[in-house]
Symmetry: D2
């Protein structure tokens, strides 16, 4: 994800310094004009805006707060934009810690796969102080096709992102249960998929429906382990807001069952196999 | 629904006799060329194909098997096409009873609201013996924009239809939980709706999302009582096929809670208020 | 069950005529003094009170309303006491049909296994018109150790019985999930069972806990197919009363998954294996 | 809880130093012979075994690792016994951190309310290295009526404790759903309670059943906020072990709905009101 985003910033004429734990990944961006750095701290020296696009809460915390972390290098008044799908709790902590250091913070998680990042087609959901959002808009324009503002507190953007992934996971489960029932009814999966495509007319239904109907779960576009992580974070957000989400709870249990069955590295829509197995398929 | 379907058959040049419990509704079709009859039995006399489009299992059973019912009037070799969203169990019983009388039977439930029926835009899912399906295809062409074949046993079409409605109810619940959580997070519903429209690009998400975001549940496009009926039938199909559908079970309980709260006549997407209430909203 | 009940009535000095589809089973009671009959109708001729103790709704309906059924033989003013675990809907229908014939009707489902029936230790839950309940109390005293009155409408006793079985199924599921988690935690099942016995001090926890901990599911004391039937009826009662029971819905889905895995004839507490399987055990 | 435990240790002839954030609570134990101290660290100086009995993970972490915390005062080879209901994750961290300091660690969570603690009737579940368990057995004998060994790793005892509380919460939910359904069926709650007492013969069913039937939720014996915390920890244990617990997930959502309705300080069995409300009661 990060590579595509960096390239789009370079294409838009911005100066970009990059850091990646795997140095080769960073160096691949050198030919596009990026300056490759040794540490997150170094990457941020003198920059106006620092983006992080990582795997999970733990990697963000380490990248920001370790010895040579982003928080060390980022100047007073400079902005950290977090695009990783992280917990609302970590987003609040980032906002508080950056404020303590005189730094600014925005959440700007994105919807879209690496191809969408490359093609400047990400959907960006941002939240944070208006002034900062306005300053970053040009960058968002370089990265995605549309930017949405969730509110003035950064963690609100993370809540929206987590609910969005919850919506996709819900469609996976609904497809999984339907296909399981219909296979036991002797209905060819393709038929149901065709009906659903005519009914929903949504590319997400087309893509996930096809993967589930044909049980093509490898290679993973988005791994089940990451899907579980996101649903877990959605449940955590629901918990801290005292807003029960029984469907999110169901999804978490289905993902756990898939994990227990060894599907961590398959695509997250392989979660549909849990419904199939419980139907004796 | 039935009126639009009848008009489209007339427009296509077919001769149509109609029956409705409310005679006025039938008579409204007389100006379009329909012959108005007194009983289901009478409507079927001498016809090749008899469509039923009713409210539920009970009304279909009565229309078919009461004293002046369809089964009395329908000739040997003539075809009954059932378009009501009925249980798979009733579909099997209809197939068996018609066979016993030397009559033929197809299931052909549809997706689409009355406006779609009028506009010849229904999606038709049919199942039954191939020969009969082929004979009815011209009629289906007159009624809808696309016909899907679920299998050679009529009840398979009903299973597909019930799973399709389950898919829509699932999206309602996922929206309901997301909006409840996000409202407690201080995120304006419209923002999440915009993101979801960009993400799913589906007219169903746009329509239901808007109704749920704005809590406009009246007048009902499709009543909660009917929605509960359909999810109940989906659960019944899952039960008889021994294919557990935990999400369908969740939906049934949410619909029941909405019913207990007096929402029977609101739109079925008002089921989203259950998640809101359980979040203290 | 019926045999033990009949013997206890004979022991208490009542005259008893018996009918069973398997004539040998009825004849086994002849040595205890029962008059063996050819049909339900014949068994009821001239009797004051007729008990039915059968397998499910269908067998009760057939025994009562078939050509030589109970309803034919039972005299005006005579009482039908239904002890089968049936649906609340069938109980209402029985009450209505018997009333139409000038006959009386009580529901009196029981808790207890065949051994308890033999030992006069059943728990009897009855409901129906007070006058009739009073007249039958002597019989109930002969059959069980305690009688509870659920109300004046027969179906209320069935609702209580179904909720009681739901309570037991809930304890099975809670044990199943605990044992699955603890086995993955490396805790010996016996330890948890000992703690729970000390905590709950209930013979039901002791019995079911032991069966689940040791996975001894055969021979079945109460089959999974019957357990599923009862939970299905509990869900149906919840549905008609518009009282969502999400735990009952969960149980139904777990039973269905067990059924799909071929466990119909195992003890109903083998439902706990679903949680184990979904944990990868 | 802690007061009763301290008194029983004193009664058994042990020397006891106590610390409590509310000094008065500690001083109340002075007349029984306890030495009152100013900090956790001070309380542990020179002691062989240090018990902690606190509210949650956060208070344990603070009591152990703050500046004047237990970990500072506890000598090499001395034992920390944690009796709080904490997460399995914190138990593992405690074991690791104490080991790093040359200190020993046991988990020994308990079942029982403050009255049981006073009366030496706690059920103690312990886990940790055998040698340490053996050394502490005399102390456990002074505190409770029975000790159970969950394994050689401390966190296993916490897993057992969390599953035990999950079992109790499950019975609360099953009662809640049954009473809601039966109230809509017109059955007096007392009747169902009597039947369940005859059926389960368990003091826990008697106590919780009565509270739920009569809706007496104040004062709280164990608060709903703490109940939610424990079910949350059970879900977390299930998550880290990849053992889906759908019933635990359901309970968490019901507790959250109760919390959202303002019931945090009521008894945890007031969670039953969620089922009642969703039934329109």
């Amino acid at each position: 994800m990060g590579a595509g985003m960096a390239r789009n910033l370079l294409r838009a004429g911005h100066r970009v310094a990059v850091y990646n734990r795997s140095r080769e990944k960073a160096e691949a961006l050198a030919i596009d004009g990026a300056r490759v750095t040794e540490t997150p701290s170094q990457a941020c020296l003198g920059c106006e805006v620092a983006f992080t696009m990582l795997g999970d809460d733990a990697s963000v915390a380490e990248t920001v707060w370790s010895e040579n972390g982003l928080a060390r290098g980022l100047g007073r008044g400079a902005i950290h934009v977090s695009s990783t799908t992280i917990s609302t709790a970590l987003a609040r902590r980032l906002a508080a810690e950056h404020a303590r250091r005189g730094q600014r913070f925005l959440s700007a998680p994105v919807f879209g796969r690496p191809e969408a990042a490359e093609a400047q087609k990400l959907l960006i959901v941002t939240a944070g102080p208006e002034e900062i959002r306005v300053r970053c808009q040009l960058l968002f324009d370089a990265l995605g096709r549309q930017t949405f503002v969730a509110g003035n507190e950064p963690w609100q953007a993370n809540a929206v992102k987590l609910c969005g992934n919850f919506m996709i996971a819900s469609l996976i489960e609904s497809f999984g249960e339907s296909f399981a029932t219909l296979r036991k009814a002797g209905v060819v999966p393709r038929v149901f998929l065709d009906v659903m495509n005519a009914l929903f007319a949504s590319p997400l239904y087309a893509n996930y429906g096809k993967m589930i109907a044909t049980e093509q779960f490898e290679p993973a576009g988005f791994s089940l382990a990451l899907g579980l992580k996101d649903v877990r974070l959605a449940c955590a957000a629901a918990d801290e807001l005292a807003a029960p989400m029984p469907l999110a709870s169901l999804l978490k249990d289905q993902f756990l069952a898939a994990l227990a069955a060894g599907q961590a590295d398959q695509d997250w829509c392989s979660m549909s196999r849990v419904a199939a197995r419980n139907a004796g398929l």
